[in-house]
Amino acid sequence: MELAKTAAVPEEGKAVSGRSPLPKNKIFTKQNVICWIIVSVPLLAFLVFNGFTIIFSILSMFGDMEANRLDTLKWNNFANFLRIGEDIGTIWQSIKVTLVLTLAQFTSLMIAIIIAAFLSQDVKGTRFFQTLYFIPYVCSSVAVSIMWMVIFGWNGGLNSLLGTDIDWLNNMENPSTLTWAIFISVIWQAPGYGIVMYCSAFKSINPALYEAAELDGANAFQKFWYITLPGISTITFFLVLAGITAGLTTFDAARIMAPLSWDGYAGPENAGLALMYYIYIEGVQFGNMGYASILSWILFIVMMIPSVYLIRKRILSLEDL
């Protein structure tokens, strides 16, 4: 309620110049303090909940714990790190699966561009189809994965459609069919968001550009290449980054479609072992949080590469705020 009495909403001139209307020696006014408190809330929460997680995960990498309790942490001569060497085959397998699932995000992006390009044609009913195409996006990846498990499963329809008799999800001869089944479930679901975004991006391109290009004798491909693609570059950039993040952290679909077997495999020859799934199995199910922390940090560092690029771009564009 203090805020109400003392808050001064900046007048127009002051708001533009950004200068404080108060003398310099009076920084700790009631208004400023209240502003600080309010804007600190999300930042402090972020620091507490993520900061401690990060600190705890660093500590846990260097020792063994009982029941994940840090007070039982015992130095173990880098045993967690040495395990990476022994475990390199599994890690490599999970990296391969994760890359396939990241590829699924890129494929979804391609599908989104193509479908949105068709939806932007001057024909009736595009709005209706756009609405339909977004439906898979609001479905949970758990339910969608179950749906695809049934379709890929025994007597589920795919085999009778293709005239084959393959156990896609448990294929001992070629385990990777499971990985590609997860891939399919992702590209079935993911394009909806991109389709809607690209539709509005296509609409925002100035039609005069196309007319001018037509006068210059440009064909459809040239128009797409020289006008449409540059016009959607910002949204593509955002969707690529979001896709990389989503792809590298795929978990739900992997966990549902490749349930952990009694002997500790995620699908035949770990064909469903996405990196996040491996981290879950090691850290939460087997209680090796130290090792799971190392894997998480590897994933984090890989994901930081595009993020750093984004942060630089974003902070540069914030200069005028």
Binding site: A7, Q31, V39, F46, M147, V196, S200, T234, D252, I315
Partner: protein
Amino acid sequence: MEEIVKAKANRRIPVAKIVTYLVMILYTLVLFVPFLVIICTSFTSDYELGAYDFHLFPYEWSGEGYELIFTLDPNAVNGVPSLLIGFFNTMWQTLVPTCVSLFVSALVAFVYSKFRFPGRKAFFLANVFTMMLPLGAFGFVGYLFYVNIGWVGGARGLLPLIIPGLFGSAGTIFFLRTYFDSGLSNEVIEAAKLDGANTVQLFLSIALPLVKPAILAQFLFAFVGGYNSYSAQLMYLYNDKSLWNLQLALSELTGMLSEGNGYNNARCAASFISMLPLIILYISMQKYFIEGINIGGGKE
């Protein structure tokens, strides 16, 4: 002259249009045949599924699948099927943090937008920075922190799911701030102040209603995200069936049913009725969903 050109265009077969419709219909089939398969399977009896080769439409329609998931549920608590418990848990576990967080985010965004205070820019940069960090990688490592502060086990497992989400989200703050910057002019504020409104009234009765479309968009997507959330509940609530959310209940139920290849009808039924509420919500509010992506998507 113009008439002739038009007439000529009409006579030509509209190849581009036909191709466009073909692609749109083909893609519709790609997206909806899988739905059709599970809907039809969910209405086929287990006996029919086992005795005959795959056929899309059941020879005899049967509600057995839907009966099974409510009567033969091994995860039922006191006779209440886990999907039902899951649905109600999902509702409150999603709505409480979503609403509180949206309110906090809007307040913070309002302060960033309409108040000048020392360090404002630095605070905002910090906010943007937290938004960009790819902390998804630490999703499961968070467990370590919450175990050590005693927030795991039984009902305490709810704490890590709800408490961290109450303090606003950096992305929403960023998004709503641009809204206050452009949608709430200082003239409006001045006029309201002349009418005797204080800052709290200003925020609640003028600022919030002005950004209603933006808040609604954020709410819808947060709600969809919460409804479909799975990994965090799997991690923190697994041991207490009465707290499971819908996705966890669904995955556990279908996981048990799938042992031994039977009960495909029940798995399809469970999966379909879990998707249905959001599909209905989306269809009835599709305008706001699409608008929400259009106004905010490119900025996040």
